[in-house]
Symmetry: C2
Subunit: 422 residues, 2 copies
């Protein structure tokens, strides 16, 4: 059997550990070089495939590929670029197959979230239609933790660890200042539709470290009167209150509290700014001195505080993708299957892409307390293992040492160029 090459691309928002998945794919492919050719990566994600801008990962040293495991961000570039339906965007899918054919790509590894799972499935279907032999495997990644079938999503555990740690640290700070200064602290976190990251803020406190917390989930419509009452009760009782608020917090009418106006390439509203909004509300209604923080990219890029569980799983889903592909599993996603809570055990499973594509796994209502402002023990049992373990990067001169790859381009073989549009 002739060895065929693999294509790997990163899609959507990057994470602290998506490069660990890349390392899993590349190192596994290298280990099985008898069966699989080079791994070509898309420069800036799927756009690299459309424009035939491919990176030859075989030019990278084993050491640099290993260093991907401790380097945040997308080493080959990612993109926000969504392919539409097969008929609507037929030219794009055909172009992908043309590029794959030109570079003898027999394996398509797409590392992303909901949208890219859908793209991966469609590429597989188009290859089928065109009679082009291709094995397409989706490698899960999203800090939002909203992919179906998989128990959790690579990238989420590290964000969860970051927001829980940050809130715990800030809570200690506020507690010591509250007598004469700041009494309310607001931390805005990511999670556009699902409150997984907001729930993770709740892990900041536990039996040994109680913290007066109020969480504002995107799943629970914001009720100003109830919210300010909850905050007031905590300040009066504990002297201070910490608030974790999702960027996707909505009002009763289902409108985003922080509608920024601008939209991203997928047509999603670009968020950011509900943190200061909530803080100002506290000042206006309760007259408490407040501070607020918006972690934004810091939370998803914080490789220095990555979860060891998350790192291990991110590598494993990449590694397993290659193994499954070599076994001929097509149109599937590598998934994380939780086999035990205590002790936490997990294994890699296989999810048909049709079960994953375009679905969104919301935070179950019973993970949120009845009052809507906290997390239940069920949520804690789910979240606890995901933030466990530390995996610090190497430091030099006081700073984490992250690798930048050479990213050598593969010579183009097609005479045609392709306009990806705007």
């Amino acid at each position: 059997m002739a060895k065929r090459n693999a294509f790997y691309a990163q899609s959507g928002g990057v994470t602290a550990v998506i490069n660990a998945s890349a390392a899993g794919v590349i190192e596994t492919a290298r280990a099985r070089r008898a069966e699989i050719g080079r791994v070509l990566a898309g420069r800036n994600g799927i756009i690299g495939a459309l424009t035939e801008d491919l990176i030859d990962t075989s030019k990278e040293s084993a050491r640099d590929i290993a260093a991907l495991k401790h380097t945040p961000s997308g080493a080959f570039g990612s993109c926000r670029y969504k392919l539409k339906g097969l008929d609507e965007s037929r030219a794009q899918y055909e172009r992908l197959i043309d590029v794959f054919r030109a570079h003898d790509i027999g394996y398509f590894f797409y590392n992303g979230g909901n949208d890219s799972a859908d793209t991966c499935l469609k590429v597989s279907q188009m290859a089928d239609r065109l009679g082009y032999p291709l094995v397409a495997v989706h490698v899960p990644k999203t800090v939002d933790n909203d992919l179906a079938v998989t128990d959790n999503c690579p990238g989420f555990g590290s964000v969860a660890k970051y927001v829980a740690t940050s809130m715990r640290e800030a809570a200690f700070d506020v507690a010591s200042m509250a007598a004469t200064s700041t009494k309310v602290f607001v931390l805005e976190v990511m999670g556009r539709h699902a409150g997984w990251i907001t729930a993770a803020v709740g892990m900041a406190e536990d039996a040994a470290t109680p913290i007066p917390l109020v969480l504002l989930f995107p799943e629970i419509p914001f009720d100003e009167a109830r919210f300010t009452r909850e905050v007031d009760v905590r300040v009066k009782r504990f002297g201070y209150c910490c608030i974790g608020v999702s960027e996707g917090l909505q009002n009763a009418a289902g409108k985003l509290m922080a509608e920024a106006g601008s939209k991203d390439a997928f047509g999603h509203a670009q968020l950011g700014g509900v943190g200061p909004l909530i803080a100002n509300l506290v000042r206006e209604r309760l007259r408490y001195k407040y501070h607020w923080a918006v972690a934004d990219y810091l939370q998803r890029a914080a490789r220095h505080l990555a979860s060891k569980t998350d790192l291990d799983q991110s590598y494993a889903v990449g590694k397993a993708a290659v193994e499954l592909a070599l076994k001929g599993h097509n149109a599937v996603m590598t998934a994380i299957v939780r086999t035990s809570d205590k002790p936490y055990r997990w294994k890699i499973g296989i999810a048909p892409l049709a079960d994953v594509a375009n679905k969104e796994k919301m935070l179950p209502r019973d993970y949120i307390t009845a009052d809507g402002f906290g997390i239940t023990s069920k949520a804690r049992a789910y979240l606890a293992p995901l933030i466990k373990g530390e995996a610090p990067p190497p430091y030099r001169d006081g700073l984490p040492q992250y690798v930048r790859l050479k990213n050598v381009a593969v010579p183009k073989r097609l005479a045609t160029s392709f306009d990806i549009g705007k």
Copy 2:
């Protein structure tokens, strides 16, 4: 000679390592128990002394006191409460001496910044006037790094490490998204008057890790046209640009940009928001997609990422304060003296409080590049050793384990109470 007790209090904004100074004071006093009595701490800083709300640190286990070295925030509570001049606030100073006398306090250790150095000096002067024997030693602390005489301030190195690391991580993130998404990232950092923390953001990049950075210092009046041009040049050349902006950025008229800024959805002036302001400006003028983060308390509470240099020095200034006090040094501050840059060496020095009180050490102009948007090699040489070394806290179940002390109150001995006012 009769053993006399010590009073210790934390003042102003807390840090990731101020408790290490507390541990330095308490552990050293315990080691020299033949010469010094108990360490009584002020609950919520100097307010605890005024209201005779003292904490008996002798009730805390050796293990818990040691745990202060890895616990951020102010373990006894801090406060923002400034004593005025000796004549203006005479009643307050007299009350302090009354409380000290009632508890046989012969040593006053005050852990804070500029204001508290001044208070420490005045308390010492008042004790003199009243003929009350007291040795007053100031223990330096401020993330702003703006205390005179000392080469650097405990607390600053850890914030510097945090902002440099965070910007480096975010820059990697933005670099991988810039082709189709975010091109400009803004990180707002602390430092109201002096640009030390802003300068530290510049450490995110080095020869091995170039990053297109623009820094906005409080020392350099904001020039919108020049700024947007700098950003535009970098985006056009590198594909993206990262901006570190001081919360204290001022316009040409010397007015804080954050106060000249926008209003929120409720129509209130948005406070502490120069980060989003700058980000919006980038969008308005350059039409680039942006993201912004405001680290706020996260930066000064981030014990998980503390600098080992900073931690060691924070402990040392506390330890030395006790040693100096026992030698009879009065109205002084323990200072950090840099004896060598390469290799970095430092020792503890003695600074007369009169040389420290109410002075502000600004970032030298030659630490900022001529164009006003970056840092010079001189700044790098100064900053490099301060962020060096890691000192992670212990983790349990994926989160840093921070100690909360019992903070047992010392029974009151005075019949009078004291109104600290509002």
